[in-house]
């Protein structure tokens, strides 16, 4: 059995977003990229499964050479091997999922972890699409994961609670914050990761099914009124909420 974890290299969540000159994507100049935060939970869960089962782990990313930084982070945390599916074109989620599914098949990985969404396009479906392409079972937005032989019991977050899902391998699990506490890479891990060779091969090419026509800034909310600096403004606030905003 082999475990795969799919990694996205995304703008740091504190980065200021500036629309690029083509008005279709962000201007990457000055943007700090880092591993997608949800992928760290995916890596941690892959490592825990590895420690329990003693099997091999591989990190997969599709995109530009810069993605190797995030793959290296996965290696530093303890993932055994990494592969970059090289692709310089802009891909939609379907095309990305097809490339990942192809590699997962090649690797014959039976348990695959994703972050529940990548903090760039926020589609939150790459894991589910990949599972369906592979014919694997899938549990998304997982906050608790147990594997017993072939059987999976996973808890997924839903509105107002959790669903406890029962399924079997092979499966794709998408990780939500709260699933675990991702470990820090040890100095030894970081040094070892630097020496590892990240395999690079061209990503499977397929057509996009979504075309971005335009990217724009959301309408700016204007700053409103500061009514005061203490509890004497509370009466005015409640009146405005009732009569002007009509929200209570």
């Amino acid at each position: 059995m082999k475990i795969a974890v799919c990694v996205s290299h995304a703008p740091d969540t504190a980065t200021k977003i500036i629309i690029g000159p083509d008005n279709k994507m962000i201007d990457p100049n000055g943007v700090t990229y880092a591993i997608n935060p949800f992928d760290e939970y995916a890596i941690e869960e892959a490592l825990r499964a590895k420690e329990k089962l003693g099997c091999e782990t591989i990190a997969i990313s599709t995109g530009r050479t810069a993605n190797k930084e995030s793959l290296r982070k996965a290696l530093a945390m303890g993932i055994d091997n990494a592969v970059l599916l090289r692709d310089d074109a802009e891909r939609d989620t379907l095309s990305t999922a097809k490339a990942l599914a192809e590699e997962i098949k090649t690797q014959s990985a039976e348990l695959v972890f994703f972050g529940k969404q990548s903090v760039d396009y926020d589609n939150s479906i790459t894991g589910q699409l990949t599972a369906e392409l592979l014919g694997y079972n899938c549990v998304s937005v997982v906050v608790d994961f147990k594997l017993d032989g072939n059987k999976i019991i996973a808890e997924r977050e839903i509105e107002g609670g959790r669903e406890v899902v029962e399924t079997t391998l092979p499966a794709v699990i998408t990780a939500q914050k709260g699933l675990n506490e991702p470990r820090y890479a040890s100095l030894k891990g970081i040094m070892a990761a630097k020496k590892k060779v990240i395999e690079e091969k061209p990503a499977l090419e397929s057509e996009n099914a979504v075309e971005i026509l335009k990217m724009k800034k959301p309408p700016m909310k204007h700053a409103g009124r500061i009514l005061g600096t203490d509890k004497s403004s509370v009466g005015e606030l409640v009146r405005l909420l009732k009569e002007e905003a009509k929200v209570i």
Binding site: T13, A14, I19, I26, P37, D92, L94, V119, D120, D122, N123, S124, I125, E132, N137, C138, V139, S140, V143, I153, R156, E159, G160, G161, R162, E163, V164, V165, E166, T167, K177, G178, N208, A209, V210, E211, L213, K214, M215, K216, K217, P218, K221, G224, R225, I226, L227, G228, T229, D230, K231, S233, V234, G235, L237, V238, L241, A245, V247, I248
Partner: protein
């Protein structure tokens, strides 16, 4: 092209959710303008309010029913929806962007060989095709996009599309018994959280941040939420500090919300938090620091001590409501 739209109606506890009615109404408006036929599909055991879909412009609903399908099953639900979409030759399938919608829509899109646009916040059909607007980078930018494949799947963000005028037509309901559902993936239990109301579904949210100074002071936030019938939300800082559960976190690594009223208490307004709540219709900020970024997007603010302002606000709202 058969010019047909299919809407998936999500049921929980045998009731179609409000977000599904929003989606049905939006899809039926589009169907009327583009001259498409429209019908709806739901999966469950017994669904009580399904005929009400007629009030939102969808006059036929097919319900796939089996006692084992009361709870969600990724495998069974996605198979039934995709098979029915194929049988009716639907070109476009709409879902709500809920936890169920986000799980099932991508499964159905692969089975139909369809492109997918998730979490749409507006749909423009003036050109004769659907141009969707959706937030990216947690709402710090928007994209306008279209699906280029013949079959199309869209999910619509809850609480954004207006239901508007409704009629009193009841939909024709066709019940189809499912003989052997594919339960290779099934929900065996639902654990309800202790919070009474989830931020993702609330009309009013009271969110408390680090300015509350400790988990023990959150009763003030809870009390205000109680008198308003609101959900309790929070910022990343308090979740990381272990004061509040992650299910309450609003922002880039938490939930994105757009309630009618958002009251931010002791929240400074980090860019990641604002990304998750700036589309709220009315924003109130209470924070000691008058330079806190939250005031730059708040409709109304009180630049005062939360421990003084909150108790007074709770009393004032109680008075206003009585």
């Amino acid at each position: 092209m058969s010019n047909k739209i299919l809407v998936f109606l999500e049921q929980r506890n045998g009731q179609i959710k409000k977000s599904s009615f929003e989606t049905a109404k939006t899809a039926s408006d589009i169907a009327r303008h583009l001259n498409y036929e429209i019908e709806a599909i739901s999966v469950g055991a017994v669904i009580e309010n399904v005929a009400e879909t007629g009030r939102y412009g969808v006059n036929k609903v097919t319900v796939f029913s089996n006692s084992t399908l009361a709870n969600y099953s990724t495998s069974a639900y996605s198979e039934l929806v995709a098979e029915y979409a194929k049988e009716t030759d639907a070109d476009i399938v709409f879902f709500s962007n809920t936890s169920m919608g986000k799980d099932i829509a991508p499964k159905v899109s692969i089975k139909l060989n369809a492109g997918t646009l998730m979490d749409c916040v507006s749909l423009d059909i003036s050109s004769g095709e659907i141009i969707a607007t959706r937030p990216v980078y947690a709402g710090r930018a928007l994209i306008e996009a279209k699906i280029t494949s013949a079959k199309k799947v869209f999910t619509l963000r809850p609480n954004v599309f207006n239901i508007g005028q409704t009629g009193d037509t009841q939909a024709e309901v066709v019940i189809k018994e499912v003989a052997v559902p594919n339960l290779s993936n099934k929900v065996i239990e639902i654990k309800k959280s202790e919070e009474k109301l989830d931020v993702a579904e609330a009309d009013i949210i009271v969110a408390g941040g680090r300015g509350l100074k400790g988990a023990e002071n959150f009763h003030l936030v809870e009390e205000l939420a109680d008198v308003l019938g609101a959900a309790v939300g929070t910022s990343r800082a308090t979740v990381d500090a272990g004061w509040r559960p992650h299910s309450e976190q609003i922002g880039q690594t938490g939930k994105t919300v757009s309630p009618n009223l958002y009251i931010a208490v002791g929240i400074s307004g980090a860019i990641q938090h604002i990304a998750g709540m700036s589309s709220s219709k009315c924003i109130v900020a209470i924070n000691k620091d008058k330079d806190a970024p939250i005031f730059s997007i708040a409709d109304y603010g009180i630049a005062g001590d939360v421990f003084e302002v909150l108790p007074a606000l709770i009393e004032e709202i109680k008075r206003a409501k009585s």
